[in-house]
Symmetry: C2
Subunit: 205 residues, 2 copies
């Protein structure tokens, strides 16, 4: 089952149900992919324009990275659903089962790894948006702003799916390493996304 | 052509192209629908649980509103594409054509009305998330946080598609009325969304 090969209407419908997947992690990957696609769109509306001939090579290089990233984020929609499955099963193990803690701990690590990957992908998407907003066609500037707002929301959304899992981990040292990386990405990239969004608003109005 | 009946993979692909539609407005409506669906999911994971029997009637009422709103936002994805078409054509009218200004002004109003509707729908979605976060199952609290972050980003994204059009309007009095409403919604609902997101983070960590 792939959640990126069903229609948006079906995705929204299954997301809103009580089905275990997709959840907030997969939805974050999708919103990140949509956000990055808006960056690629800025590139698409910039290449071939005489006014932007001077940055054309840069834009083409950015578009290649952005296209790869939007495909990676689409892949992470399904990866999140797969990684959540063992955790979904682990919650069903009786609390007095001696294997429960080990199975649960492994499942929590697996379910945390994908939203961490989504977070890292969103930070790279925000970096690319900084460049699309600076170098892309002024006619498409609003799309760079919308895109960076989506990648920030996707970063924040994925972080909640990291924290809800690290909170339950027995291995606190491991949990803290993951939380520290997530907090570092949030601090740096929410600020960078806001700065980029605000620069777009200032140019637009 | 409906952009909500194609797969997420195809949506992201056509969004990233230089095709006139979908653009940032339609993408905002989609992200808003995904955000609202996460609220409905919180409801789906709350109803039928003994622990939440006391709020079950409230949750069912919230879910009805949320489902209607996510369908409205999906409808607005295609409505935005339709409303942009006349503007896309108006840009092609020669600058010395005496009819250009009138056609352009009408097209700008049409293209602005849909992102304003998307903004209004996102504010209602944020209001519903406040209640899902307060009353929904604690096990689904992260999904309420992710959902409200998406609805805020969708509100901001739609606003850029309002401002890029009002900026070009000849009728400044009309443009200012629209901008004033948009600014009012942004001020009130970005703050409410942040407050809700932060309350989720505080309960989660």
């Amino acid at each position: 089952m792939s959640f990126v090969n069903i229609s948006a209407t079906e995705f929204v419908s299954v997301l809103s149900s009580k089905a275990a997947v997709p959840g907030g992690g997969g939805a974050s990957a999708l919103v990140g992919a949509v956000g990055m696609a808006l960056g690629t769109m800025v590139g698409s509306l910039t290449v071939g324009k005489k006014k932007y001939a001077g940055v054309e090579a840069d834009i083409i290089a950015l578009m290649e990275k952005a296209t790869a990233l939007q495909n990676e984020l689409l892949r992470l929609v399904d990866a999140d659903a797969e990684a959540f499955e063992p955790l979904s099963k682990a919650y069903g193990i009786p609390k007095d089962d001696p294997d429960r803690e080990k199975v649960m701990e492994d499942a929590l690590r697996t379910a945390t790894a994908v939203p961490m990957d989504i977070m890292r992908a969103c930070t790279r998407a925000i970096d690319l948006h900084v460049e699309f907003a600076a170098k892309g066609s002024a006619l498409a500037i609003s799309d760079a702003g919308v895109g960076v707002a989506f990648c920030k929301a996707a970063l924040q959304g994925a972080s909640l799916n990291v924290f809800i899992n690290t909170k339950s981990m027995a291995d606190r040292a491991y949990a803290e390493v993951v939380e520290k990386e997530a907090d570092g990405l949030l601090t740096r990239y929410c600020a960078l996304a806001d700065e980029t969004f605000n620069s777009v608003v200032n140019r637009l109005r």
